[in-house]
C-alpha cells in the first residue's frame, strides 16, 4: 500500500460526525484487502483480521472515521445557509473559510464576513448564530438543494509540505485509520498474540458515541485507540505536546491500563522505534475512554500520532510518524519470536 495516497484519499473523503458514509465506505473498501470478514454496524466499520483462534485475548484497534464539521440548521431570508457545529470548531477561523455542503449535490460556499474596510473595532469572534454561508445561489434554488440536517465540511485538499509532512483537514483521525491499515499490512502472514478486530468508529468528535456501541458489540479484552494528539507548534505549551517526526505518542494515564502502556513502551524499545510519552492525569479524550468501561471493562491503551493545528483545515502531520506508529502496533500484536 502507498501510505501517502491512502492518507490523501481518506483525508479528502466526506465524513463529519453522523454523516460518515463516504469516508466509511472508502475505509471499508481499504479494509477488505486485509480482513476476510468486514461489515458496517450503523456507521461503524468493523473488520476481523485473520482467523480468530480460541483462547487468545481479543484485541480491538480503533480509529475514528468521523471528522469535525457543521450541520445545516436552516436557510436565512437573505439566502444564506445557517449552521451549527459538529464537534469542537475554532470559530475564530471561520470568516471566508471555504466549505462544502452535502445537499442534493455538493455545494461550495464560503463563510460570510465584513471586509476590514467596514469592520468596526471587531472585538468579537462570530458565534454560530451569526455565522452564515454564502453559496452564490439564489434562495429558491438553495431551498431545492439544501435541507436542515445536511452536513458541511471545510473544503480543503491535501498538500505536501517539505519532507514527509502533509497538510489537510480531517487528518484527525484519518491518519489513524491509515495507520491501522498499514499495521495490518505489516502483520500479513505473521503469528499473532491476539484475535484482532479493527473498528473505524463514527461520532467520536461529538462524544465518542460510535465507540460506545462498538465496544458493546465487540467486547474486547484489550482496546487501543489510534488517534492524534497535540504536536508542538507556535503558541502551544511544550509540556502538553509531542513533536512532529519523533514517533508515536504512547499514552500513560490513570484511565489506561498500565500493563498495556508498559508493553507498548517495551515493544518500541525492543524494536528501536522512536516514541514519545503522553502523560495524562485522567481520562484521555479518546475512544479508549469508552472501551475501558463498556460491559465489564477492558484494558486500554492509546497510540497517538502527533498533529499540529488540530480541528482546523490546516492540520499537519509527518507521515513518518504514521509509519512508526503502525510499526509499534505491529510489534505489539506479533507473537514474540522464540
Amino acid at each position: 500500500m502507498d501510505l501517502f495516497t491512502d492518507i490523501k484519499e481518506l483525508a479528502e473523503a466526506w465524513g463529519p460526525s453522523g454523516c460518515e458514509g463516504p469516508a466509511g465506505d472508502l475505509a471499508m473498501f481499504m479494509l477488505e484487502s486485509y480482513c476476510s470478514e468486514v461489515h458496517a454496524s450503523g456507521n461503524n466499520v468493523i473488520g476481523r483480521f485473520g482467523t480468530h483462534q480460541k483462547g487468545k485475548p481479543h484485541l480491538v484497534l480503533d480509529a475514528h472515521i468521523d471528522q469535525i464539521g457543521m450541520i445545516v440548521t436552516g436557510i436565512s431570508d437573505d439566502g444564506f445557509v445557517k449552521v451549527d457545529s459538529l464537534g469542537g470548531i475554532d470559530r475564530r477561523l471561520l470568516p471566508t473559510q471555504q466549505v462544502l455542503i452535502y445537499g442534493e449535490r455538493q455545494i461550495p460556499g464560503v463563510f460570510s464576513t465584513l471586509p476590514p474596510h467596514l469592520a468596526q473595532g471587531g472585538n468579537k469572534v462570530m458565534t454560530f448564530a451569526e455565522a452564515a454561508i454564502d453559496t452564490g445561489l439564489p434562495k429558491e434554488e438553495l431551498e431545492e438543494l439544501v435541507s436542515p440536517g445536511d452536513c458541511v465540511k471545510f473544503d480543503v485538499k491535501l498538500k505536501r509540505l517539505l519532507g514527509e509532512r502533509v497538510t489537510c483537514g480531517a487528518l484527525d483521525d484519518r491518519c489513524g485509520v491509515a495507520c491501522i491499515l498499514y499495521a495490518l499490512e505489516l502483520l500479513k502472514g505473521c503469528e499473532l498474540r491476539y484475535n484482532v478486530t479493527v473498528i473505524f468508529s463514527c461520532q467520536e468528535e461529538v462524544g465518542e458515541r460510535g465507540a460506545k456501541i462498538g465496544a458493546f458489540e465487540l467486547s474486547p479484552d484489550i482496546a487501543i485507540a489510534v488517534d492524534v494528539s497535540f504536536a508542538m507548534n507556535t503558541g502551544e505549551d511544550p509540556k502538553k505536546c509531542g513533536e512532529l517526526g519523533k514517533g508515536p505518542m504512547i499514552g500513560i494515564s490513570p484511565s489506561l491500563s498500565r500493563r498495556v502502556s508498559d508493553k507498548l513502551i517495551a515493544c518500541a524499545k525492543a524494536a528501536q522505534i522512536p516514541f514519545q510519552y503522553e502523560v495524562m492525569n485522567g481520562t484521555t479524550g479518546t475512544n479508549a475512554d469508552r472501551y475501558s468501561v463498556e460491559r465489564g471493562g477492558a484494558e486500554t491503551g492509546t497510540v497517538s500520532i502527533p498533529l499540529r493545528n488540530m480541528h482546523t483545515p490546516a492540520e499537519v502531520i509527518d507521515i513518518e510518524d504514521v509509519r512508526l506508529s503502525a510499526r509499534l502496533l505491529a510489534e505489539f500484536i506479533k507473537e514474540e519470536q522464540k
Binding site: L93, P95, L118, V125
Partner: protein
Amino acid sequence: MTELLKRLCLINGVSGDEDRVREAVIGRIRDHCDELSTDPLGSLIAFKSGRSAGKKLMVCAHMDEVGFIITHINSDGTLSFDEVGGIDPSVVIGRQVKVGKAGLEGVVGSPAVHNLSKEEREAPPKFSGMTIDIGASSKEEAEKYVSPGDCAYFSSEFLEMGSRIKSKAIDDRAGCAMMIRLMQEDLPYDTWFVFNVQEEIGLRGSAASAFTVAPDFALVLEATTAADIDGVSGQKKVCSLGGGPVVGFMDRRTIYDRDLYRLAFDTAKEMGIPCQTKTAVAGGNDAGAIHISGRGVRTLAVSVPCRYLHSPACVIDREDLENTYALVRELAGRIPGL
C-alpha cells in the same frame, strides 16, 4: 471575461512583487497599444490611439493584491511574517498559503482550540504570534527554500458558484481584466492605460504614474466593499451584488468629481443597466492619489461590487462584472469629449 479574470487572479503578486502580473498583462496588451513602458516603481503605462484625440483620459487599475512578507525564519523552521495591506487575521489562521516565487505549500497554524482558554477562544486572532509552517523541521531546512523578504500568498482556487465567482485577488485583477478587454477594442479617443503597483500599501504606484501621465481625467477601475450579507440591512450593506457597477460620491480618500458622478448614472440609465452608489463613506483607492496629482485631476472610480474583499475568498457576480465593463467602455467613449 471570466477566463481572463481567472488567469489574472491565480497569479501571485503582492504589493512590491507585481512582476508576474505585469508580465502577464504585457503579453495580453502588447499588440493592442501604440506605446508601452514600465515606470521606475514597476507600474505599466500604455498609450492607445483612438479615432480622435479629445482630452487626456487615463484609465487605471492596480496589479497588486494583499498578502504577506516573510520577516524571519525561526529556530523550529516556521516562518514569521507581516501582512502586506489591510487583512483581518481571522481570514488567515487555519489556511493554506503559498510561499515565495516557487509557490511552496504552507499553512498558517493555530494552537488547537482544545488548548485555548475560554477568553482566548472568544478573542479575535492577531498576526503577532502567527507563523507559516512549510513542513521544515529546522531553521537550516527552511533556509534552503525561503529567505526573509520573500512574499507569501493566499492559496485559493478560482471557483464559479452559480452566477457568482469566488477567488483571491479579485481586488483588483477585475480592474486589470476590464482594462485588457477595453484595450482590445477600437476606441473613439486616445486613451492612456495604467496598471499600477503598490495600491494596497497606500496608493504608492498611482502617485508616481499619475504625475507621469498628467491626465485631464482619470477613471479608476476597482472592486469595492459589498456588505450585503446575512444580518446586515439597509444602508449598512454599502453596496450589493447584482446591483450593477458601483459609483461612489466619496470615500476615505476622495470626493469624486460631481459631473463625472452624474455622467456615470445618466449613462447607465441610458444604457439600461443597473448602477449603484456606496451608502457609506468607507475605504479608498488609487483615486485618492490621482485626483490630487499635479494641479489636480478630475477623477471617477467605477467598481465591481465584491464581498469579502482582502480575503482568500472574494465573491463577485458575473453580470456585475459585465455591466461594469459596459459602463466603463461607454464612459471612456464620452469623457474625453467633455
